[in-house]
Amino acid sequence: MNGKPKIGVYVCHCGTNIAGTVNVEEVRDFAASLPDVVVARNYSYMCSDPGQALITEDIKNYGLNRVVVASCSPRMHEPTFRKTLESGGLNPFYLEMANIREQCSWVHEDPIAATEKAKRLLEAAVVKARNLEALEQKEVDVEPSCLIIGGGIAGIQAALDIADAGFKVYLVEKSPTIGGHMAQLDKTFPTLDCSACILTPKMVDVANHPNIELMTYSQVEEITGYIGNFNVKVRKKARFVDMDKCTGCGDCAEACRLAGRIPNEFDEGIGMRGAIYLPFPQAVPAKYTIDKENCLFLAKGKCGETPKCQEVCQAGAINFEQQDEIVEFKVGTIIVATGYDVFDARKKPEYGYGIYDNVLTALEFERLVNASGPTGGKIVMLERGKKKKKKEEEAEAPKVPKSITFIQCVGSRDKSVGNEYCSRVCCMYTAKLAHLVKDKIPDCEVTIFYMDVRAFGKGFEEFYDRVRREGVRYIRGNPSEIFRRGDKLVVKAEDTLTATPLEHETDMVVLSVGLVPRSDNREIIDILKLSQSSDLFYLEAHPKLRPVDTASDGIFLAGVCQGPKDIPDAVAQAKGAASAAMIPMAKGKVKVEAQTSVVNEETCRGCGFCVELCPFTAIELVEVNRQGWPVKVARVNEALCKGCGACVAACLSGSIQQRSFKDNQLLPQIKVLGVK
């Protein structure tokens, strides 16, 4: 096969994508005139079955030993045509592609110049193809286990699916409980299912599943390796409570000297907790955690004579000596399901959030209407930051708002805060919250200011219709400002349908804040080298066809960390990510990159520059014996090498070559492209 090159050239029309601009017949005839080209053809869709059959037939009939396809980007169809070569009995790495679509027909308008460029790109591919070598694609074993980062609904669903299929799952959650944002919600739109009622059984399933190892209050610290063989290091933060002994009775939380004095994150700061706490009654695991920043004993070294929690815990579970623990394990695949933050409404100072007690974010309001929330589901006017009143005044019942106003698109579709995207859930959760207000306080005047109502999902438009008929007033116009007049809040806006500027007085304002990438996203990006899209959510490998994959093999995305979505979409994506992660685990083996770098150990000077540069930590310095002298040289771990070529370009002594991109393959190509 390594004898004289016999090259077949195939020029694709891609319908009119290429043929509309490039004269494909002319390119074909040009190809046929090049040395070593024994056959040149053009065809409407080379990637189609008959198109591929042309290649396999020619391999047989002409004894082809190199194939050049002039079509789209190799990102699109290189895997397709490699398979074609294989089925024709040829090593798949004898394929070379010329991109005459993305890099030619799509970006040029002049057909003559575009055809000339296509010829040049094709010739460059032909001269490179002459010197291509056969490569062997190695396989490695896949560890039958998966790491899932994030224990919200997406992480929970992915964990259950994978564990049910019989694979081991490590579910790592940063906070003391799994459940995520969904656990904070009251009802879900548009069906009004109780969020907790449908979520908590799944949380319990996670805790009880024999294949799931749950690590809450834990953080991924480091991940090395590659698909099939990731090494994971997790820090289990000290809870200062012995998980095996804690019965979850709650005596400690009641006894804590700080009980009711620290804003509870789970209640968005509207409810209070102590220094030892369970975020909410159905938390999983149902084990208490001491927050060391606030605990008097841990932060100040003194909590009365003895810490109260320790005094009352009959199980003896409190352990102030507990240390963080580092756990290490191997997994074959990883699913990132780290979720989102809600938009920080302080970034829109015109709405007075943080200034007026009764300007709330929708998530705060969610806790206020929630039966398990700090008010037991009673919607009342808030008095924030006020110390507990003396007993005699306690009798005064909190006021019930007579009017509540919602403002949509706070932090979404808004360039001024850098979020140009629509958050997809706010229109519907606003309608749902408005419905809940009408349900709980029928005579409350409910107004929703909106710019467009996007009711695109299943049952959404019907729900929007229902809520309007319940007497919720929709005013088209996005408010600009909130200020105070007497004991009322004034929402300054325009009713754009009647072109009426107005000052709308109300008791309470709920800001329908959008979803934003988590503020701590950077940690996971650095650990996993993930990419971000322009909205700063994690970037999927392909927006249409690989929506749960990342650019790194074996690492998948689920839920809102990839972009705003509602619960059913997050669950669907989680199930997709789970099944994608299970493919290599079920196969048990995975092919690794064949176009790897290789070091010439005779000329390598062991400077280590490539070792520092390699983004995949695939190169290390090893000691070899060179004519009786021990010298250090670089060596590439082929399982880790992704074939990026950074080391090749950087090598000071020219000792590294990348397979399929060697000097004798690239230099002729450059010559064709560079010299007329």
Partner: protein, 378 residues
């Protein structure tokens, strides 16, 4: 319309507008005038209607406070569309006499107040102020850009005099341009006289660049905004006096000895706050004046209410008979128990002080520039 390279629609990116209503919702004059800036964003997309729209009297109600642009979720500047319509009127020669006089006075004497250039230094009185020489060998630290209103208005010139006293007390090396100083052109641009503004830009940049100074300090936020953001090719950094004075206080170069036992509030000028995000420095200064009890307006900082002094409004009378915003402002101040409304802008000073007279509370409510309070506390 003259044959321009880009159309009205492209110039203001009108097709980027989603008609959300935040501009009109935030517009301080939308409740008291007929101005609905959102509708102009929509209606001007029909270029055949531009002439008719430019004849609408309400385009002159805009104070160019910038709230509409600050709130726009698509990064558009609706106020500029109104200025564009004013330009069409001016090009047609349809111009109100008061505006015409102000513009002619700027062209002729370098100020909008109809006063001769020779009187530009009258405010100095017997203060000892260095007049800078162009191309001087020796560097002067600060060039004080005085502003026409501070130079000519008998009330406002006290502010400029106060600044001189403050800078001298702090030992700052500064000088002024003198009679050759000309209007910055901020109001010229906002009245729609583009050509005259280009002249102000070119001539002032050339003049200012000729001085050997480290930085320029302005008294008016309007001059500050124009020098800093709208001029082309200015070599020196531009500061508002509140930035400089706050630094002097922080560095301990300015000591305040006398008590001013008053309840003071602060009114954010739009050109300092909303347009240049200078919120903290004025408050820093006021709260360091001995004996001052500081109280905030409910509508403060980013939510501050415009006084209606900008956008050429000093020369255009509104048709509206509804309560002026400056009157709302002084009433709010009175209700919160303030005795002094501190400002940092000559227009705010004039409009608010006038409002106290309309309301008959000028005896109990003082309107003063921060600099006047500072000078009294020296």
């Amino acid at each position: 319309m003259s044959a321009e390279e880009i159309s009205f629609i492209e110039k203001y990116d009108l097709l980027g507008c989603i008609q959300c209503g935040r501009c009109t919702g935030g517009c301080p004059v939308s409740m008291r005038t007929h101005l609905n800036v959102r509708r102009f964003m929509y209606d001007t997309q029909n270029e055949e209607r531009l002439e008719e729209l430019s004849e609408r009297p309400e385009i002159w109600d805009c104070t160019t406070c910038y709230t509409c642009a600050a709130r726009c979720p698509k990064g558009l500047e609706p106020l500029e569309v109104l200025i564009g319509l004013r330009s069409l009127q001016i090009e047609e020669g349809r111009i109100q006499p008061t505006v015409r006089d102000a513009l002619e006075s700027i062209f002729k004497d370098g100020n909008p107040w109809g006063s001769p250039r020779a009187k530009r230094l009258d405010w100095v009185g017997d203060l000892d102020v260095k007049v800078l020489e162009p191309e001087a060998e020796e560097v002067t630290d600060v060039l004080l850009f005085v502003c026409c209103t501070d130079a000519y208005d008998p009330r406002v010139m006290k502010v400029a005099q106060s600044l001189v006293k403050v800078l001298q007390a702090a030992g700052v090396d500064f000088g002024i341009i003198g009679e050759d100083e000309s209007c910055c052109g901020s109001e010229v641009r906002r009245l729609g006289e583009e050509g005259l503004f280009e002249m102000c830009d070119e001539e002032n940049v050339e003049l200012l660049n000729s001085f050997n100074v480290n930085r320029i300090v302005t008294i008016s936020p309007h001059c500050y905004n124009t020098l800093k953001k709208e001029y082309h090719g200015l070599r020196h950094p531009v500061l508002h006096y509140t930035e400089l004075v706050a630094q002097l206080l922080e560095d301990g170069k300015l000591t305040l000895n006398k008590e001013i036992g008053k309840v003071v509030t602060y009114h954010d000028p739009c050109f300092l706050g909303k347009q240049n995000s200078i919120y903290d420095e004025p408050r820093y200064i006021i709260t360091r004046i001995p004996g001052v009890e500081f109280r905030e307006f409910d509508r403060c900082r980013e939510r501050s209410l415009c006084c209606e002094g900008g956008g050429g409004k000093m020369w255009v009378e509104s048709e509206s008979k509804a309560e002026r915003l400056a009157e709302i402002r002084v009433t709010d101040a009175k209700e919160m128990g303030a005795e002094v409304i501190a400002v940092a802008c000559p227009f705010c000073l004039l409009t608010l002080e006038d409002a106290t007279k309309v309301r008959g509370i000028e005896e109990e409510m003082r309107v003063a520039d921060i600099l006047e309070l500072l000078a009294e506390a020296l």
